[in-house]
């Protein structure tokens, strides 16, 4: 006998966004000595003026919890309305159980479906795409998607390629059903031939061996990543717009992964975005928070430009793997 069921929701949308920025503001002056650099050098190469580092009382989970509570509150839903939780992170310091299950315990919703995804700086956009499909298929009703990182735990403060870039923070969105199209098809994929361009070394196994080789840190081949991000990701972003029926001229906001201001500017130029498009440039004060950067930048942009609530945006994440994902979205309505 054939299966009989219906797919109840034609569409889904982002109902709300929340963010948590750690309390410690770290200006470039606190970074420069160990990498023989200067404030001017960092600003020229990254656009970063300051970033946030978590303090001793701020963990991956405490930051995720704060961002999640804000997003749920702004959605008008209760914690118990959330039936699935997806956490995108590469810095939760336990192999298992997942960050998502610790988060739902702390949220007071321990029966929700919960899991983590490892897609580095693309993780949040992967999560948004998965949540949208879970809702459209009827598998889930309301999904919490969190991007959270404490990269300061896995960054070598003496590495000139990363010490001034990586930072900490959390962002979250609640995604639910919608009468109209709110999340476009996800354009995603990998360029795993360039897997070595961003790496954590050594492995946990190496760390266990006698004569330890030192703590794992994330290293990056800056030129390779810059070239890939600017010249390979701009076409991905344009394709995500196209499949959602948008063009650069009809787009309201562009919220790319906050990797580096130079990448953001070069992508916008390559995509020929008109001046009417608001571009998120939160990297200036938040640094690169990997999976957390898109929702944190979305929160910051909506705070700065409340008129963008309910307008179209393009989000794109790209990073270690190398992996990427992009989709056009309708930004959440202003919280009531």
């Amino acid at each position: 006998m054939a299966l009989t069921f219906t797919t109840p929701n034609s569409h889904s949308r982002i109902l709300s966004v929340g963010a948590y920025r750690p309390s410690r503001i770290i200006p470039n002056s606190e970074i420069v000595d160990r990498i023989d650099s200067s404030d001017e050098w960092i600003r020229e190469r990254s656009g970063i003026e300051s970033r946030r580092f978590a303090g001793p009382d701020e963990s991956v989970i405490s930051m995720a919890l704060a961002a999640s509570k804000q997003a749920i509150s702004r959605s008008g839903l209760s914690v118990s309305d959330i039936d699935a939780v997806i956490v995108a992170t590469i810095t939760y310091p336990f192999q298992t159980p997942s960050a998502a299950t610790e988060l739902i315990m702390k949220l007071g919703n321990p029966k929700a479906a919960a899991f983590d995804i490892s897609a580095a700086c693309a993780g949040f956009c992967y999560g948004v795409g998965m949540a949208a499909d879970l809702i459209r298929s009827g598998t889930a009703t309301n999904v919490l998607v969190v991007g959270v990182e404490k990269l300061s735990d896995f960054t070598d403060p003496d590495d000139r390629g990363t010490a001034f870039i990586f930072a900490d923070g959390a962002g979250a969105v609640v995604i639910g059903k919608s009468e109209s199209a709110g999340i476009g098809p996800m354009i995603w994929g990998s360029d795993a031939e360039s897997r070595d361009a961003i790496l954590m070394t050594p492995s946990w196994i190496d760390l266990k061996a006698p004569g330890s080789v030192g703590w794992p840190d994330i290293s990056m081949q800056g030129q390779t990543v810059f070239r890939w991000a600017v010249y390979q990701m701009a076409p991905v972003a344009l394709k995500a717009l196209d499949v959602a029926g948008l063009t650069p001229e009809t787009l309201a906001a562009f919220i790319p992964h906050q990797a580096n201001m130079r990448i953001i500017d070069a992508m916008a130029k390559s995509m020929k975005l008109p001046e009417s498009v608001a571009i998120a440039r939160d990297v200036r004060v938040s640094g690169n928070t990997s999976a957390a950067s898109v929702p944190i930048a979305m929160d910051a942009l909506l705070a700065e430009r409340p008129d963008l609530h309910g307008k179209s945006a393009l989000i794109i994440g790209f990073g270690a793997g190398l992996v990427y994902a992009a989709q056009a979205i309708e930004l959440p309505q202003a919280p009531k």
Partner: protein, 82 residues
């Protein structure tokens, strides 16, 4: 038709001026991109990609760090275009 050194140098001058805002007149074969022209590592990537498109050559990432001077870039592009 093979590219000449003069033609590639003229193209590189235009690209570096466009990408990094360096006046074309100050760009010579012996100039070091980093020390003399203040073209940083990320701008160098933009120069390389623009040169690839313009001259129809491939300049791999591992080669980019070897291109210290304008002359290095011109010679490499001419050698690849043959």
């Amino acid at each position: 038709m093979a590219l000449t050194h003069d033609a590639v140098l003229a193209g590189i001058k235009e690209i570096v001026e466009e990408v990094a805002g360096i006046p074309a007149a100050s760009i010579e074969m012996g100039k070091n991109f980093t020390d003399d022209l203040d073209v940083d590592s990320l701008s160098m990537v933009e120069v390389v990609v623009a040169a690839e498109e313009r001259f129809g050559v491939k300049i791999p990432d591992e080669q980019v760090t070897e291109l210290k001077t304008v002359g290095d870039a011109v010679n490499f592009i001419v050698s690849q275009a043959k």
